[in-house]
Amino acid sequence: MDFDLMITSLPKLLGATVVTLKLLSASLFFGLFLGLFFATLRLNKNIFINKFAYGYSYIFRGTPLLVQIFIIYFGLGQIEYIRTTFLWVILKEPYWCAIIAFTLNTGAYTSEILRSAFQTIKPGIIEAGKSLGISKKIIFYKIQIPIAIRQSLPAYGNEIILMMKGTSLASTVTLMDLTGVAKYIISTTFKPIEVFIVAGGIYLFMTFIIHNVIKYLEKKYSFQQ
């Protein structure tokens, strides 16, 4: 055990953790909206809209995240047309490519989580809202969405943790996130176990915090108060 290496690599790894957290928070933020959007499309009665939303979630859940990042980072730049538009400003940056890929990926999972949450809402609650003369829009925003979010908290907590692990793939497109820096230190010092303990410890710490925050929220917004 090389404890010196563990101590000297800690600040570098903690610095890289900031990149990981930035990637995570940005993709979760955009992914939540995307997921909510596609979940509402899934509830739409129009079969084409419905199938479109299903296709989106099927494709992004059925392929590895690595393929998605590679298509966006290496693949899209190949199209001449994109290089001429303003999109190229975003797509030439690995940072934004990673965020786009993560957002699309987590959006697909989130849409499934939210859809099942919407479907488990008892019809009686919506009917109660209707009979009180509340408009459909208000029922959706003020009754269905809050209940669905509460219902999906445990599953969404898992999704946050999966996404946190997913951000490690940013290292494959040259971003120096926690895993990227860990790999760099491993390949220069050839001490994989020490670096794994420190980097893994940081990841576990983040998992621990996410887990407990979700647990707290679940308790806070539980139905029996």
Partner: protein, 230 residues
């Protein structure tokens, strides 16, 4: 389309073999995972606190750390660890483990953590009366588990195991960083030499979709078979 031709002109046969490699790694990995699950599930269900701790440590660490980091640990640390063990027995030559073994071990340990959780959940949801009835009938321990608990457990576990399989299948794409030529690595090579990454990565995505679709169909059949009594 000529890019996908079989033979020397296209990448069809290379990608075909790469797909077989992905399937082989996934199956090896999930079997390795089952072995790990068979070891750690009893630990998690044990009466003894220390054994519980060991089981929980395994599932928590593996499920809380990115797959890529575990793969790097195995990739850079694997041969070192084997050589260390070998040196105890007096063998000091350089040992290199091939990428297939490193990869399927790494993915296997990851999928084992998920399988452990699935098995634990399935065993815990079997009615206590079943265990007691088996004991009362005087069936030996092996028969209790093999003939009574396992069939009921499988029915409950298969839907979740199908998720584990999907996760494992997708995780194998990460082994490409170690240089094992599976779908992802082959697409990377093909994309590099033809300068057509969009096509090859999209094709890789299609291959993965096909694999997940086919395995879904097969698992559904298996599920129907194990729940025929219900």
């Amino acid at each position: 389309m000529e890019l996908l031709a079989f033979g020397k002109t296209g990448w069809g046969d290379e990608l075909f073999y790469a797909t077989l490699m992905t399937i082989a790694v996934s199956i090896t990995a999930i079997l390795v995972g089952f072995v790990f699950a068979l070891i750690f599930t009893p630990l998690k269900l044990s009466k003894y606190k220390t054994l519980n701790l060991v089981g929980n440590f395994y599932t928590t660490v593996i499920r809380g750390v990115p797959e890529l980091l575990v793969i790097y640990l195995f990739f850079f640390g694997g041969s070192g660890a084997i050589m260390y063990v070998a040196s105890i027995f007096g063998y000091y030559e350089y040992i290199e483990i091939n990428a297939f073994i490193t990869g399927s071990m790494a993915i296997g340990i990851i999928s084992g953590a998920y399988s452990t959780e699935v098995f634990r959940g399935a065993i815990q949801s079997i009615d206590k009366g079943q265990f007691e009835a088996a004991k009362v009938l005087g069936i030996n321990k092996f028969g209790q588990f093999y003939k009574i608990i396992l069939p009921q457990m499988l029915r409950l576990a298969i839907p979740n195991l199908s998720n584990v399989w999907q996760i494992t299948l997708k995780d194998t794409s990460l082994i490409s960083v170690t240089g094992l030529v599976e779908i992802m690595r082959q697409s990377y090579i093909a994309a590099g030499s033809t300068r057509d990454p969009l096509f090859f990565y999209s094709f890789a995505a299609v291959l993965y979709l096909l694999l997940t679709y086919i395995s879904m169909k097969l698992i559904n059949k298996l599920e129907a078979r194990y729940s025929r009594g219900y």
